[in-house]
C-alpha cells in the first residue's frame, strides 16, 4: 500500500534514492540542488540509509568519486545543477563511455554569466551529447518515480549507462506536492540488487579505462553508439514494469488532449503543467489545441515524437535554452526529426523561462497565438521569445 505524503520534489528524489538502497553518494552543494544531498546526508547521519556519503570538494570530484565507487560495483548517486554540471562536464562523458551506471539528479539551473541560480534548461542541453540517458520530470511524483526507474534502467546488464533525472530548479525542486510513496517491498520487487560483473577486484585483475589509439578509438565510439541505441528497449521495458508494480505509466513523449489537435504545443519539464491549464482553456473555447511533452530527451524518441505530431498543422516548441547562432536547441532537433516525414506540421520556436523567469498562463496564451503566426508567416526577429523585454527594432533580423 502506498502512503500519500507531502514531499518537496528534492526530498522525493532523496527518498527514492534511499529506497533504492544506494551504496555511495558523492555530492557538492549547489543551489538549487542542495535539498537533495542535504536530505541524503541527514538520512545517513540518522542511520536511515546505510550508505557512504562523500562530501567532495567540487562537482568534478563528485562525479569522479562516483566513477571510482561504480568501478568496484557500488550503486552510486550524485546530484548537481547548472555550473556544477558544467564543471563536471568532462567527467560526465567518461561515466557513459566507461559504462558506469551513475544516477544523477539535475535541478536544472541557468548558466553564467550573469550569475543566476534560477532555473532553465541550458545545463541539460549542454550535456545532450555526453551519452547519458536524460529524462525530465514535471512534478514531485515523477521526481520520485523516475529516480527509482533510473536505477532499474541504468544498471540493467544490457544497458550499463548513466542516467540523468532532470527536475527544474526551484519551480520543481523546491515545490512541495502530494506524493504516493510505495512500500519498500514494492521497490525491491521493481529494482533488483545491483550486481556489476566487471567490478575491480584483486581476484580478477581488470583494466578499466585504457586509452584509445587511432586504430581503435573509433570502434569504441561505434560500440557506444550501438549500446545507446539499444538502451531504448530497456527504457520502455522499465516503464512497463514500473506500471505493473506501481500502477503509474510513463512514455517517452507524453501527450495531453492531442486528439484531432491542429495546433500542438511542445514543452519540457515542470512548465508543462501550466501549459496544460492553457490547453484546457483553449479546448473549452473549441480550439483544437493539444500538448506534447518530451519526457525522454536522450535517446531522442524519434518514433514516438513523429507519431505524436502526425496530423497536426502547427507545432509550437517552447524551450528554456538558447543555442547562440542556431536558435533553440530543442527546435533544431525537432525539425530534424520531422525532415523525412511526408507530411509534417509547420514548426515555430519560442524561447522563454530563462534564468528563473516565470511562465504564466498568459505567457502560454501568447506562445500559442504568436506561435501560430510565426509558423504561418515566419519571423523577422533574431529570436522569438516570450516574457522577455527588448527593443523591437533591435530584435529585427
Amino acid at each position: 500500500m502506498s502512503r500519500r505524503v507531502a514531499l518537496e520534489a528534492s526530498h522525493a528524489v532523496a527518498e527514492a534514492t534511499r529506497m533504492a538502497d544506494v551504496d555511495v553518494i558523492s555530492a557538492y552543494p549547489i543551489t538549487p540542488q542542495t535539498h537533495i544531498p542535504e536530505r541524503l546526508a541527514e538520512m545517513v547521519a540518522d542511520g536511515d540509509l546505510d550508505a557512504a556519503y562523500i562530501p567532495v570538494e567540487s562537482e568534478h570530484s563528485a562525479m569522479s568519486a562516483c566513477l571510482g565507487a561504480a568501478a568496484v560495483g557500488a550503486r552510486t548517486f550524485t546530484a548537481t545543477a547548472g555550473q556544477g554540471l558544467e564543471l563536471m562536464h568532462e567527467v560526465v562523458y567518461v561515466a557513459s563511455a566507461m559504462r558506469y551506471p551513475v544516477i544523477m539528479a539535475v535541478a536544472n539551473r541557468a548558466l553564467s554569466a550573469p550569475l543566476s541560480v534560477w532555473g532553465d534548461h541550458s545545463d541539460a542541453m549542454a550535456v545532450r551529447d555526453t551519452g547519458w540517458i536524460q529524462v525530465f520530470c514535471q512534478n514531485s511524483q515523477e521526481a520520485f518515480d523516475l529516480t527509482i526507474w533510473a536505477f532499474r534502467v541504468g544498471e540493467d546488464p544490457q544497458v550499463l549507462l548513466p542516467v540523468m533525472v532532470h527536475l527544474d530548479g526551484f519551480t520543481l525542486s523546491h515545490v512541495t506536492e502530494p506524493v504516493l510513496l510505495p512500500e519498500q517491498s514494492e521497490v525491491d520487487r521493481f529494482l533488483p540488487r545491483y550486481h556489476y560483473r566487471f567490478a575491480l577486484n584483486p581476484d580478477q585483475p581488470m583494466t578499466h579505462g585504457a586509452f584509445g589509439p587511432p586504430e581503435i578509438y573509433a570502434e569504441t565510439k561505434l560500440a557506444q553508439a550501438v549500446v545507446f541505441d539499444n538502451c531504448k528497449k530497456t527504457i520502455l521495458q522499465g516503464w512497463q514494469e514500473f506500471r505493473d508494480v506501481f500502477g503509474r505509466h510513463y512514455n517517452p513523449v507524453e501527450e495531453y488532449r492531442t486528439e484531432n489537435a491542429e495546433t500542438l504545443l511542445l514543452t519540457i519539464g515542470s512548465f508543462t503543467e501550466t501549459a496544460k491549464i492553457v490547453v484546457d482553456a483553449r479546448r473549452e473555447k473549441g480550439e483544437a489545441v493539444g500538448l506534447i511533452s518530451l519526457r525522454l530527451w536522450r535517446p531522442f524518441p524519434f518514433e514516438e515524437f513523429r507519431r505524436a505530431v502526425r496530423g497536426a498543422k502547427t507545432l509550437i516548441v517552447f524551450e528554456r535554452a538558447i543555442s547562440f547562432g542556431l536558435g533553440g536547441p530543442v527546435v533544431a532537433e525537432v525539425r530534424s526529426a520531422l525532415y523525412d516525414e511526408e507530411t509534417r506540421p509547420k514548426v515555430a520556436s519560442i524561447i522563454g523561462g530563462l534564468g528563473g523567469r516565470d511562465m504564466s498562463e498568459e505567457d502560454f496564451e501568447y506562445v500559442i497565438d504568436r506561435g501560430r503566426e510565426v509558423a504561418e508567416k515566419g519571423s523577422d526577429r533574431v529570436l522569438e521569445t516570450v516574457g522577455i523585454r527588448g527593443e523591437s527594432e533591435a530584435l529585427k533580423r
Binding site: 557512504a52 567540487s58 570530484s61 563528485a62 571510482g68 568496484v72 581503435i216 569504441t220
Partner: protein, 315 residues
C-alpha cells in the same frame, strides 16, 4: 615461471611482476622501476587508480594492458577523487556484506603535473576527508608525456619546452613547489619522499604508507632520461646523486614529525648532479651557485624541522 620469494639483498621479495613486460616506457625511465617496487611491496591485494600521464599511456594502449592488478584510469586531475570513491565503495560494500571482508590497499598514482598542478584540488580534498589510501606521486619534474613542458614541480634553472633557456631566459625561474609540505599540512598521518635508487627505503615507506590507517602520501623522484636529457643508463646514479647532493632528501613526516632517513655528513656539490643533465646545460657558474645556495637553505630548513623531533633509535 613459478612465483617464488627471491632473496633481494637481505630481504625476501616476490618474483611476481605486477607490471607486465611489453610496456612502452622510454629506456631508462625511473617510473617502471618505482612502480615495480611499489607493487612487489604491496602484492596483489590492491586497487589502483592512475592519472593520465606517462605511466598510463605507456601501459594501456587498447586492447593491451600491462597491469596484473585491478587498475583504473579516467582523467588527468581526478585521481584522488576517484580513489576516494573506490575506498568508500569497498568499505560500504564490505559493511553491507555484498563483497567479502578483506584488506585491499587503495593506491592513487599520478605524475607531478597531475599532483602539484591540475590534480591539487582533488588531492587536497581526498587528504582532508581522510580516506584510507596511499597516494603516490611519481615526480619527473615536468609534463614529460606531452613533451617536457614545465610544471610547478620543475626545479629552478631547468630548461623545458615551455620555459626554455634562451638569450633572455635561464629556463625555469621559479622554485619547485613543495607539494610534500602541502600534503603534510593536511595533518595526515604519513608523508614520505622516496627514490627508486634507494629501493629498500622506498619499499619500507610504501609498506608503512599502506599500513597507515588514513591517507598517506609518498613522493617519489623518478628520473626521466628523455626530459632531463641524460643517458638512460645512469637513472639510478642520478637518483642517488639527487639524494647525496641534498636536492631531493629522503625523509618522512609522521603525524607532523619530520625524520631524515639519509643524512650524509657532507652533501656533494650540486654541480655533480646538474652536470649530468642536459636540461641544466645552459647554466652559468653564477646560476649553479644560486642553486647551491637554495639547496643548502632548503636542506638546513629540513634538518631544523627534523631536529625538533629527535629520534632515539635508528630503524
Amino acid at each position: 615461471m613459478a612465483i617464488t620469494e627471491v632473496k633481494f639483498g637481505d630481504r625476501l621479495l616476490t618474483s611476481k611482476e605486477f607490471l607486465a613486460e611489453g610496456h612502452n616506457f622510454c629506456i631508462g625511465c625511473g617510473e617502471p622501476m618505482a612502480i615495480r617496487m611499489v607493487l612487489k611491496t604491496l602484492g596483489e591485494n590492491v586497487i589502483m587508480a592512475m592519472a593520465t600521464g606517462c605511466d598510463e599511456v605507456t601501459t594501456t594502449p587498447l586492447p593491451y594492458t600491462s597491469w596484473r592488478i585491478p587498475w583504473m584510469h579516467t582523467l588527468f586531475e581526478n585521481t584522488a577523487a576517484e580513489i576516494s570513491g573506490v575506498e568508500a565503495g569497498l568499505k560500504i560494500l564490505m559493511k553491507k556484506g555484498r563483497i567479502p571482508e578483506r584488506r585491499i590497499t587503495c593506491i592513487a598514482m599520478a605524475g607531478d603535473g597531475g599532483t602539484s598542478d591540475i590534480g591539487l584540488q582533488a588531492l587536497s580534498g581526498a587528504l582532508e576527508r581522510g580516506h584510507d589510501f596511499v597516494y603516490i606521486c611519481l615526480d619527473n619534474e615536468a609534463y614529460m608525456n606531452t613533451g617536457i613542458q614545465r610544471s610547478s614541480s620543475t626545479p629552478y634553472g631547468a630548461s623545458t619546452t615551455t620555459a626554455p633557456a634562451g638569450k633572455m631566459s635561464m629556463g625555469q625561474i621559479t622554485r619547485k613547489k613543495n607539494i610534500v609540505a602541502i600534503a603534510a599540512a593536511h595533518g595526515i598521518p604519513y608523508v614520505a619522499t622516496a627514490s627508486p635508487s634507494y629501493h629498500f627505503d622506498l619499499m619500507r615507506k610504501v609498506r608503512k604508507a599502506a599500513d597507515t590507517k588514513g591517507p598517506a602520501y609518498v613522493h617519489i623522484l623518478t628520473p626521466c632520461p628523455t626530459g632531463w636529457r641524460c643517458g638512460g643508463d645512469i637513472t639510478v646514479q642520478i637518483g642517488q646523486l639527487a639524494v647525496q647532493t641534498g636536492v631531493f632528501p629522503l625523509y618522512e613526516i609522521e603525524h607532523g614529525r619530520y625524520r631524515l632517513n639519509a643524512d650524509p655528513p657532507r652533501l656533494k656539490p650540486i654541480e655533480e648532479y646538474l652536470k649530468l643533465q642536459g636540461r641544466y646545460r645552459h647554466l652559468t657558474d653564477d646560476h649553479v651557485a644560486i642553486i647551491q645556495e637554495m639547496v643548502n637553505e632548503d636542506y638546513a630548513g629540513l634538518k631544523e624541522k627534523a631536529a625538533c623531533f629527535p629520534v632515539e633509535a635508528k630503524e
